[in-house]
Symmetry: C2
Subunit: 162 residues, 2 copies
Amino acid sequence: MSIPEDARTSIRHDKPEDIAVTKTPTDHRGLRVLGLEECLERLRTAAVGRVVFVDTGEPVVFPVNHAIDGVDVVFRTSWGSKLDVAESSGVVAFEVDGYDSLTESGWSVVVKGTAQLVYESADTDRYDQLGLRSWADIKGLGFWVRIRPVEISGREVIPPSE
Amino acid sequence: MSIPEDARTSIRHDKPEDIAVTKTPTDHRGLRVLGLEECLERLRTAAVGRVVFVDTGEPVVFPVNHAIDGVDVVFRTSWGSKLDVAESSGVVAFEVDGYDSLTESGWSVVVKGTAQLVYESADTDRYDQLGLRSWADIKGLGFWVRIRPVEISGREVIPPSE
């Protein structure tokens, strides 16, 4: 599996009417392009996603269990120093994927956006209602992080039957 | 789940005797540190992993199905232009993880190293024997990529029972 990201579903958070903009149903490699609603549904139902960002030129990746608040990806983490970096590092990516070993089909959804630590109770109270049980809370060290998307893209590949 | 990477199992590919060096069994957050053999076993058995690298300052992440050759991560992809970037971009990361919704336990293994496109038949013939069925081959566009690790780290978190 290798899912290119050259065709993308771009959204602007401040212009919700743009969210519905999607590209053609397949890209030039024949991969099915997932529409925004399908991307959001897969983001909502995936148990685990990966936060990816750049720290002093090197890629950093770590898994989190997450929730979706509107189109924002939210999660709790105790990884404070790293997320201070993420918050100031520009573009952050968040990835979920799935693989069916029976059909050998796979898919991937990638959110790109900016990360913010969220302290405002108007937001965190709402996040607390999302039913997220995060391991970061084991030692009571967790705080909320929001990734606000600039771009959401998804691809699915289904191998031809033999 | 949030798995810090501040304690790491470092290896040097040219000094195999260093590979066995592992850190303490738990890090300062109480997460269990996986030893190198355990990391390699989880890399070998994971169906899907994610390649992560930096392209013009932004994180790029895409899933692949992969195999392990010694301690190298190998996979096929048709994503040529992006991997040209990966090959010249310095550090590349490769991540696998797992999550058990019943026990709410999770783990993550991250390889950091350098990516190379592999053309030598002495290598590719061996890779061809690894039993990897890659979707990149659907259109016959795939070629082999190797990530040679400089560092392999793994963490596991098991929430306390309630």
